[in-house]
Amino acid sequence: MAVVIIGGGQGGFQTAASLRAEGYQEPITLIGDEPGIPYQRPPLSKGFLLGKQEQRHAELRPAAFYETQRIDLVTARATAIDRLARRITLDSGENIEYDTLVLATGARNRMLPHGNVVYLRTLDEAAEIRQRLAIANDVVVIGGGFIGLEVAAAARTLGKQVTVVEGQPRLMARVVAPVVSEYFRSQHEAKGVDVLLNAQLSGITENEALLGGRTRRPADLVIAGIGVEPNIELARDAGLPVGNGITVNEYLQTPDEGIFAIGDCAESPNSYAEGLCRLESVQNAVDQAACVAKIIVGHRAPYGAVPWFWTDQYDIHLQMAGLPMGFDQVVTRGDPESRKFSVFYYRAGKLCAVDSVNRPADHILARKLIGAHAAVSPDQASDESFDLKTAVS
């Protein structure tokens, strides 16, 4: 009963680790296409760029862990799945047989058509950006989402002149309410970052970024963080259904019962959203991995963890619980001027998400409130004298 996991990121690693923690004794093979041992990505756009963390801090476990846990690490790219033979082929030409296959293939960065742009996803890419930041003066960041803003914050903290170029009318527009976008814009500007909204990169010269019309900025380093595409091709070519991700059911299973998909590459039913949902987060990768490990050892239960996310920019800690998609009402708890506030999102009268800025206690309660489908009215949420704990039963 061999388990083969394709993808050596957070989800792939966690599947292997959770299987062993659940007492699974059969062979486990973890196939990753990056050199080295599995590592976590969140520090790469934060402490690693600042030089506060090194590669060994990002590594999820030391090399010896994989030996003692009998997890066979293979560095290769899987090129095909033969579902009838239950066998995958690697780019080395080698074949590996499986009884259960877990696809944790992750995602890859969307790219701009321009040359001379660097991207951040892997440790190698982060190391290159760190080196180039050391000698850069003018940094242009394309994309005002989590990654772009974290990189901008790191570059500014290192004393660089930083411009953020965002195509939408506000920052992090895909994931947060306007009040949160506005708060982060004001904080980046207060730190001296030049934030350009409704703006797009039109070209790059030797030392400038051209931003349409007459707008241009000096640039000796252009970094883009403009979202990702899920790695679905392997599944699609094996005849498995794909949409905005490899499509799985509430047990994270494809229609082929021996094949699961988890993490950034998978779209699954999510009780906190409407319809199928593909999430890009550590929480989602880790919790889906743990769910699949349990199913493989015989504890079959549907996936249902509350989604949560975080981003750190300067000393601002934004924590998000739930999914705000389709929200139609927002109330604020606490005053953004105080630098500590939470935003409660409602969909059809029901609390669906909470963003907390430097209010970690609210975030922890929000995970519980949303998980319990607790009733907290907008009036209660915005009233600081109302104790949120009383709504968690």
Partner: protein
């Protein structure tokens, strides 16, 4: 390097040399100490690196920040007065000899 001793709930003791600047969590994870999971990777987001610090060492530790305090409300094993998240404990030379106990469960 400061020596830190991790004692499991079953009483198994391991003493590790942990570099100054690393966290007590990293010292455990990088040396394969059981009982510390650190699912979120040391970002004070998951409470799976919960430890009980031996009382006499508590004064050595920096007071906990608001986020650690909030996260400690979600530990799988009971929170006690000597509970800390080991990812928030950055090792200083004064940590030499520190003893922490890992809880019965982290998840």
């Amino acid at each position: 390097m400061p020596k830190i001793t991790y004692i499991s709930n079953a009483g198994v003791s391991r003493t590790i040399d942990v570099p100054v600047g690393d966290t007590v969590m990293e010292g455990a994870v990088q040396n394969g100490v059981d009982g510390i999971v650190a699912e979120c990777g040391g970002n004070c987001q998951c409470a799976t690196c919960h430890v009980y610090v031996e009382e006499k060492f508590l004064a050595l530790l920096k007071p906990m920040a608001e986020d650690e305090d909030a996260m400690l409300e979600t530990t799988a094993s009971p929170r006690k007065s000597n509970s800390r998240l080991s990812c928030q404990l950055h090792v200083t030379p004064a940590f030499d000899g520190l003893v922490v106990h890992t809880p019965p469960t982290q998840q």
